[in-house]
Symmetry: D2
Subunit: 294 residues, 4 copies
């Protein structure tokens, strides 16, 4: 069993930290707003007052924060991991950030004697709560093996997909596919509605054929009821599609649908829907079609 520092106890990070504590590890959590540490403390973990305090005695540092600059701060800041953790500590970054930033941070980590894995997740709040996340891991194979017991406490599908950055690249691909699924479902739902088709019956039969998907299963009730409580916020998916399009551009890969999705996600945000679940892309199709109901 390890001593694990867990940095970032938000919607995703908090249940993940609790799972690790429950799995028998000694977890020390840190969050900028300290009230978020309660569930971890109740589970028997402890709360630190700074990143530095959290990581000082850790064998493993887990990070789950919103965006590239946040990860950079946590790792390279004065109060951060590289300045305060023990040499050789294994750092697992669960955040979804730019692959190039991950690659750069992995180089810095190595130069300073740390080991870094990028390990972004898919599966949302439910996946975090049920320890059923998909985890896409980039980094050294030996580090992946060393992190096994951490991953197994959190996820159901855990795959080592390549070197540093590969986890983030796969996560970007994931977000592209998910956005396309949601948008296509949204276009279909408005189309079916315009023709007066029974939506529930239609979604039943669509789900039974080649159009079936996790998105259809998990988002159909949100679309049918127009209840877009997150779940995964449009603001974050907007960030992720920015990563997809710029990483594709960087690599000379043309993603026509990805590019259009980035515009449509930006439109949702520009219309004030950024805090909704990403199934709220339905509202964008309704807006374009003059059928926005609320």
């Amino acid at each position: 069993m390890s001593t694990i520092a867990f940095i970032g106890l938000g919607i995703m990070g908090s249940p993940m930290a609790v799972h690790l504590q429950n799995a028998g590890h000694r977890v020390v959590g840190f969050n900028p707003s300290p009230d978020k540490t309660a569930p971890l403390v109740q589970a028997g973990g402890s709360a630190a007052g700074s990143v530095a305090d959290a990581v000082r005695d850790a064998d493993v540092v887990a990070v789950m924060v919103p965006d590239s600059p946040d990860v950079r701060d946590v790792l390279t800041g004065e109060d951060g991991v590289f300045a305060n953790a023990k040499e050789g500590t294994l750092v697992i970054d669960f955040s979804s950030i730019r692959p190039d930033v991950t690659v750069e941070l992995a180089k810095t980590a190595k130069a300073k004697g740390f080991r870094l894995l990028d390990a972004p997740v898919s599966g949302g709040e439910a996946g975090a709560k049920n320890a059923a996340l998909s985890i896409m891991v980039g980094g050294e194979a030996t580090d992946f093996e060393a992190a096994r017991e951490v991953f197994d406490a959190l996820g159901r599908t855990v795959v080592h997909v390549g070197g540093n950055g590969a986890g983030q690249t796969v996560k970007a691909a994931n977000q592209l596919i998910v956005a396309a699924n949601i948008q296509a479902l949204a276009e279909a739902v408005v189309f079916l509605g315009a023709y007066g088709v029974d939506l529930e019956a239609a979604l039943d039969v669509l789900g039974g054929g080649l159009a079936g998907s996790k998105v259809l299963e998990q988002k159909r009730s949100a679309m049918a009821s127009h209840d877009f409580t997150p779940g995964f916020r449009i603001d974050l998916h907007h960030k992720d599609l920015g990563i997809v399009t710029s990483a594709a551009r960087e690599a000379g890969v043309v993603v026509p649908v990805g590019g259009l999705l980035a515009q449509l996600m930006a439109s949702a945000r520009a219309n004030g829907d950024g805090a909704l679940d990403h199934s709220g892309l339905l509202r964008g199709v309704e807006r374009l079609s003059g059928r926005l109901s609320d």
Copy 2:
């Protein structure tokens, strides 16, 4: 048990007719090229030399032909169903055609004393062979009930989605969602390849999360191996996206991704890939990205 005329014994129609014969019905098949009748005859059914001969004594007429004009010919031609079948015959059109043509034909059918269901299917050749099709049915509820034993011999998910045309509308929505799934997966695959990520590992983890779909399950090996043996041909999906975009336009529904997919599918066809499986959209992304391998 009924006497069933089955018009159109192609890749889909042939195994469907055989299933109906095996389920105890008396099936009389017709196909323009008569060699396609062999499997039905081997199963104990019979072959007719014309649509007129096939439908003359039928209780039920099943139709499975490529496009709107074909269905119109079969139903309204001199040699066709309306001119030669018994009044009151139940006609089940399994073809995927334009919803407005279906609605028009249903009116004609009614005026001539026939009953028409539109019942397009999803699930492909495998679904037809395994009697595991999804069937989306439009028409009168009483006709749907009357057709139950036919549907149950062919499909796994059979849903009455509304009045005449509703089946075709749902099928159009199905084809929109499927095309979006394939294109997004194709963009993801080229993206992952450009970054040197292990594709099999990546698809494993993508399939385990919110990006998981029937398309990912069924098309990943075609994409990984570049073997685009159909399956469902790009030419037919091209026809279907024409239906989607014109039906959406007719109804005032804006489908930005659907519109772009129609262009990309047309591009595949214009580049000579029309006879490939629709997973061959991968080649379009490679073409755009200067990475077409073969």
Copy 3:
């Protein structure tokens, strides 16, 4: 000088008929709502009570009506040109319609002993009023020469672009380019506004460089003032982009920007902006960007 029947005296047709009368021809006009004949009668022309009456003694029949079915009615209806005009009459169709319908009507015309030119125009109400239209003419060269004096009374740039249908094909291309210009200008205007740039100064300098265009010259004040009085209505441009995308599809030409423009124009219409000038596409960009001001 000729006797000219002019069918369709709307915003475009009315001033065109008057120019022909003023040029010394004897013009007999017909319009479904007869009050529209007043300007022609004031100019010395006459009004007929039916298409049949208008065309009976005509050497030339000019047609300017909204859409493909209208032209078909005027030419092939019981009251129409082919049934009532003298054999050999030259028919000039100024309407913007589907190229394939033009080709079909030209064949019918020829079979019945008539000569047909497709001669759609660009330049809008102002062009019609000032006899400054661009006219793109498809048909036989001898018929084009025979129609010269008619064209010269109406247009400034008159070009014979090919056989029957070629005029409509060029008009479709025209509408594609114009829509792209308007949409790009609209995106630029909202972009500049978001950054607080002085719009008038920016449009001055944009107009002076490679971004300069007739659209920028003629539509900038509508965009700056949000006054979208037509001009050329979105409803008609929507019809035209339907022609563009289906004709491109028919020919196996991929028009990614054309396809997207068709969706955006449909969105304008679905949001109730169909009766606005096509420069009202600006409102669509504002709508997508959460900046719709009114």
Copy 4:
């Protein structure tokens, strides 16, 4: 008359420097590859061996280099302007770079006692040679006035569009409009070709109506002849569309056509056409349509 340092003597910079020398200024040029200084020296100017040497005695420093990092180097490097020029020197950056970088550099300039204008140009090589550029200027009004005699020696349409960065923002808008014009023209050209329309005749009549533009005038012969000698390279326009889409995204402005153009330009580049003139977007439409001729 002023002493002007001119940094960057490429296709654009070289004739601009010569014009300034010919207008009576004392121009000292610098270029990384020194052979490019010949035209300036022939015109009576002089060549410096470093940026530092060029700017030391200058009243005005003009910069014309490819991209944001190049401008940053020239201004803030050890050998650069801020470290070596006299305090108060007026710096005019003619390069097309990211507006946010311009804003940041303007702040640095001010803090160090320099005055900076962003003054990107439109009009291409021909505009540079003929002193007929459009110049879009951002910065302080007093600095704009001070730069007047420089601008007047180079451009025909010179407009002060706002504060620092506004010039770059307008240039981004310019590049969006130009790309849309070229792409729409390219789609039209392939469309017309597929229908066998006489291209020259069609472009004549298109140019006479609302589809008329500078792009049509200047790029039609390149498209007709498939001679894509630059002119303005696709690689540079690709860079510029990256600026457009990221600046629009930053501001919450949705640019659906801009986003698609960025993908299409990236595709041209990915297919090895980056060094062609941007009218080479025609090849992309041909590629999508299976009609690439060479």
